[in-house]
């Protein structure tokens, strides 16, 4: 839930990157951290295992500066994607204003994508959010892999995007689609403030 502090004239919004393990959530935040001007971003904080898998979350605060006299901040989080960390995902999702669902385009990952999306829907429901009007943007990541290894866009749409959410194709480590996804979710979150 966004927080609007009238006295200090600040607005804070929380955006969570959700999706199956090794799908590219952390890569999204790493690219955003590299790309956004220094004065607009804080440090990227990662709580990861020794093998750099996300253990709790990654956190990147973005400061958009003053908009109509309100200091506006977006806090970006990732969840740990591995099945084992379901309860941790619940904790990170708490109070989110919007979600980017990072799907792994690989054919072998389709079932994991579907399961993860179902889990997200269930968790939002548990937090009394209506998925129908909750800001969600889909990102189909790893589009640079050979065609025979990845699902086509119509196939991914059929399995993951029946609600017709905005969706972007991406190659997160080199930034393809990352900023477009961020723009889309930011604008959606602002529209629901």
């Amino acid at each position: 839930m966004a927080l609007i502090n009238v006295a200090s004239r600040e607005i804070h919004c929380k955006i969570v990157y959700y999706g199956p393990g090794m799908g590219g959530k952390t890569s999204n935040l790493q690219y955003i951290h590299k790309q956004v001007p220094k004065e607009a971003r804080g440090d990227l904080l990662s709580i990861a295992t020794e093998t750099e898998r996300t253990l709790f979350f990654d956190f990147l605060p973005l400061d958009l500066g003053k908009v109509r006299n309100f200091q506006t901040r977006f806090h970006l989080y990732t969840v740990p994607g591995q099945v084992l960390y379901e309860r941790t995902r619940t904790a990170v999702l708490n109070g989110a204003d919007g979600v980017v669902f990072v799907a792994d385009s690989q054919r072998s990952k389709l079932e994991e994508n579907v399961d993860s999306l179902r889990e997200l829907a269930r968790k939002l429901k548990e937090q009394n959010r209506r998925i129908g009007d909750f800001p969600i943007v889909l990102q189909y990541n790893k589009r640079d892999l050979p065609e025979n290894q990845i699902n086509s866009i119509p196939d991914l749409d059929r399995y993951l995007n029946s609600p017709n959410w905005p969706r972007y194709e991406a190659v997160a480590p080199i930034g393809v689609g990352v900023i477009d996804t961020l723009k889309a979710i930011s604008k959606l979150v602002i529209s629901k403030l």
């Binding site: 839930m1 966004a2 927080l3 609007i4 502090n5 009238v6 006295a7 200090s8 607005i11 804070h12 929380k14 790309q35 956004v36 001007p37 607009a40 804080g42 440090d43 904080l45 709790f56 979350f57 956190f59 605060p61 958009l64 500066g65 908009v67 109509r68 309100f70 506006t72 901040r73 806090h75 989080y77 309860r87 941790t88 619940t90 904790a91 990170v92 708490n94 109070g95 989110a96 204003d97 937090q127 009394n128 959010r129 209506r130 009007d133 930034g175 900023i179 961020l182 723009k183 930011s186 604008k187 602002i190 529209s191 629901k192 403030l193």
Partner: protein
């Protein structure tokens, strides 16, 4: 509160009361710092030594710790853990939940006794719960606070700042 309410608006007069309550808590406990967080990790108010540059990350981590402990509580068939205590070599952190929505955090050193912090934090959480209740009741219309052209300005800023 309406769970679909997407924004929580804290009016100026309530922020003043919150800060007054927290300043008193810091003074009475002899603590170093007090933070009031929203459950999503956003900092609502901070009081105490002004040298902390890291409160945004601190807020995110403390809220994460609390949310994580709530999941542990569920596994133990507890509703939640109302208080958490973390002990360091130099500083300690005491965290207390306010009505499932806000998190009060007090950072204090060895000179302060945990018992005193617990008692005074309880008093402060009771006071802050009353404020939270008023904030929930009196939520104003977004446009009343932000102005109707806010969204357009915000979109322009997003386009300007987020670029490849």
């Amino acid at each position: 509160m309406d769970p679909q309410l997407t924004s929580q608006i804290v009016p100026s007069e309530e922020t003043a009361r919150i800060e007054e309550c927290m300043a008193r808590l810091v003074e009475d406990t002899g603590g170093n710092y007090a933070l009031l967080l929203d459950k999503s990790g956003q900092v609502i108010a901070a009081q105490g030594d002004g040298n902390r540059q890291d409160i945004t990350a601190l807020g995110a981590l403390i809220a994460g710790t609390f949310a994580s402990s709530r999941e542990v509580a569920k596994l133990l068939r507890e509703k939640d853990f109302r208080m958490l205590f973390q002990q360091g070599v130099r500083e300690n952190i005491f965290i207390a939940l306010i009505e499932e929505q806000w998190i009060l955090t007090i950072i204090f050193n060895k000179g302060t006794h945990i018992g005193l912090v617990k008692v005074l934090a309880k008093k402060a959480t009771d006071e802050l719960a009353v404020v939270l209740d008023r904030v929930r009741q009196a939520h104003k219309q977004r446009d009343e606070v932000l102005g109707s052209s806010f969204r357009t300005s915000m979109e322009d800023t997003i386009d300007l700042l987020f670029r490849d």
